[in-house]
Amino acid sequence: MRSSTDSWADALRDTGHLVAFRARTVRRRGASLVGLVVVLGLTAVFAVAPNGFELSGSGSAALDRAVAALEDNLGGAFLGLLLLAISSSMGSGGGRELLSRSEVAIHPVSPVTEHLGALLLAPLNLAWLVQMWGLLTVTSLVTASDRLLGAQLVVLAWVLAATSLGQAVGWAAEGVRRTPHGVVVVRVVSGVVVVLLAGLHLAGVLGPVVRSLPTTWLAESAQTSSWPVAVLVLLALAAVGVVVGARPAAWALGLPPREELRVQSGVHEARHAPEPRWGSPDRALLHRLDRGSVWRSVGMRRGLMVLGIGPGLVALVAGLQWSSVMLLPGLTASGAALLFGVNAWCLDGKGMVWRETLPVSAADVFGVRTLVVAECLAMVSGVTIVLALLRNGMPPLVVGAAVLSCWAVVLVQVLAIVMTWSVRSPYAVDLSSPRATPAPHASMAAYAGKLSLVTTLTGMVFTTISTGPWAWLPPAMAVPFLTYSVWKLRRARRRWLAPAERARVVLTVAAV
């Protein structure tokens, strides 16, 4: 019989069992393997390829200035990764789960195992991947070729350390959140941090403060012969983060999830049926129900807020220029889609069967669900653009046109992709826990990879166009992108309208 205080060896073994169990349930093994190879390949490319560009003495003053700015902000970017790790784990209730709460309830899984599982799943996060790739790319760009290996090892060690420390802070925040008045405490502290950062920025001291942090030393020493010391320190920090993080994890998981329980027993007084000025009352009623399903979920509400504010704060802290900001709307919209949009019908859960018995056209159901997903994507990416505007001020006309065109394109692009996935590959999931994901982890990783790739490439196209003199070009360039995405969205709608396909989606999502 095992004691209640499980050893680390037991926890590691149990984590292995859970990972193996999940791996056996992967539907398309070949595709998953290809996805893994692509991610690793991209990581290697981002770590090495930019070093081959001959930037010094390029003759372009703008390019030299851009490279100098990247090098100058590298310390801030290191800090950004830590902030992201903290906000991700806080947003997901301490960290993602290898098995859902209801699935794991019948097994003797210790908090340490839960903690290790959450650490393993941390990379299955679009923002985490993009930030890591960004750090590798910039480091490769600004480092001499003979120092590249050491510098990238420092980056990877920092990624490990920041992830484990972020996880520990995330569990601690979740523990506080589960105490009486803990939700208020976490919200107040988070608000104070945001206000503090905004205040420092408005006072013009945010940049110097960020540059005075140890992450600047880290970024600098990575490019010197002292990189082994930095790697050792960071690996030690990572190990400390892993070990120490188990304590707040055990504390948090031993407390009742107050916020979820409050939401599950939440009272919502009756409201009159909406009477919209335009559109049908049926659609308005469905719209209200679908919106409620999003905003009454702790995980989705928290995730949307983190995605809205987080990347914008990174833009503020790291001082991203418009050329870099152009990539953010696509990435934040992708992040929002990963909260539920990739499996949009899961909002109804088992209620999907009942929904399907309602006498309302399938086209209206699809239209309303698409609208609700679009609202979430537009909201989080819009907040990012507003915060970037706060940092950089009004952009030149051509850049402004490129930002708006790019925003519109990536929104429709992400919407078309996720609605296609929602109809093609539905899953039965319970999103009542903020630790839950709308699809299995392997699928989530593939979704994150595809969305980030598509939106980043699109962003790069518009970034390139924005360097030209023609303000008409970005909107003109948006037309073919939008046309293709709208065609794709209509194709997903046609598929949904086929009764047999719709029945398959309904029965899968409701798990009956």
């Binding site: 009272v267 919502h268 309602l358 029965l507």
Partner: protein
């Protein structure tokens, strides 16, 4: 706008007609050749072991799953070509769940009533929630409900609009005795106003109490149809094996 209390149109034709129904999910044939008729003003029990095809047949009758082959008419509407028409005349309590997790019971009732163009539904909604002892939780999200509470609310939702065809799939599952009584009353009321009731359950005694006729399915086929009183425990067991 529909008014409550309107009695269902009683016609000579059966309210539910199923001829040689086949439902296939990929390689699996869930229903293979079921024949069934059910009249207005009658309650019919659908019995059988797990996987016999009861719930799938119910889903076809509710317009949720299209038939792969065969003829299915519900309240005069063809389930293959007029699923929306079927949904307008049917009230369906699914076998599992059936509730949107982050909506309240009242919001469920409101949506169902509005989409069916019901006038003055609030009083009946409130009354039904009280009958099923859900009045106190009418404005709580259903995600925190017990299994029994969810089942009771599913029955309320199925019966709210006084449908022409009432489909109850395992309505007694996990429900306390008071909930069972309230469900039996709903069935009796529906029969009294001329509705056709189809009730699927594993509980033979309750099925016989609620229904006048019984149909037994096995392996996706109908193996027997008889008066409920003729379905003794021994006869039922023999039909299952």
């Amino acid at each position: 706008m529909r008014r409550l209390g309107d009695t269902c149109p009683v016609t000579q034709a059966p309210a539910v007609v199923v001829r040689d129904l086949h439902v296939r999910f990929g390689d699996v044939e869930a229903v293979s050749g079921v024949d069934l008729t059910a009249d207005s003003g009658q309650a019919t029990a659908l019995l059988g072991r797990n996987g016999a095809g009861k719930s799938t047949t119910m889903k076809v009758l509710a317009g949720v799953v299209p038939p792969t082959a065969g003829e299915v008419t519900v309240g005069g509407h063809d389930a293959a070509t007029d699923a929306l028409g079927v949904k307008r005349v049917v009230g369906y309590c699914p076998d599992v769940g059936g509730l949107v997790p982050r909506a309240t019971p009242w919001e469920h009732l409101q949506l169902s009533a509005r989409l069916r163009r019901m006038d003055e539904w609030e009083e009946r909604g409130r009354d039904m929630l009280e009958r099923f002892e859900l009045g106190d939780v009418a404005h709580r999200v259903v995600g925190g409900f017990s299994h029994g509470m969810s089942r009771r609310l599913s029955v309320v939702l199925a019966a709210l609009h006084e449908p022409t065809v009432l489909l109850l799939d395992e309505p007694f599952d996990g429900v306390d005795p008071l909930g069972v009584e309230a469900t039996l009353e709903v069935v009796a009321d529906a029969r009294a106003r001329g509705a056709c009731v189809l009730l699927s359950t594993h509980l033979r005694d309750l099925a016989l109490e609620a229904c006048g006729t019984a149909v037994v399915l096995r392996g996706g086929n109908r193996v027997a149809a008889m008066q409920a009183g003729e379905l003794t425990g021994e006869a039922y067991r023999a039909l299952l094996d």
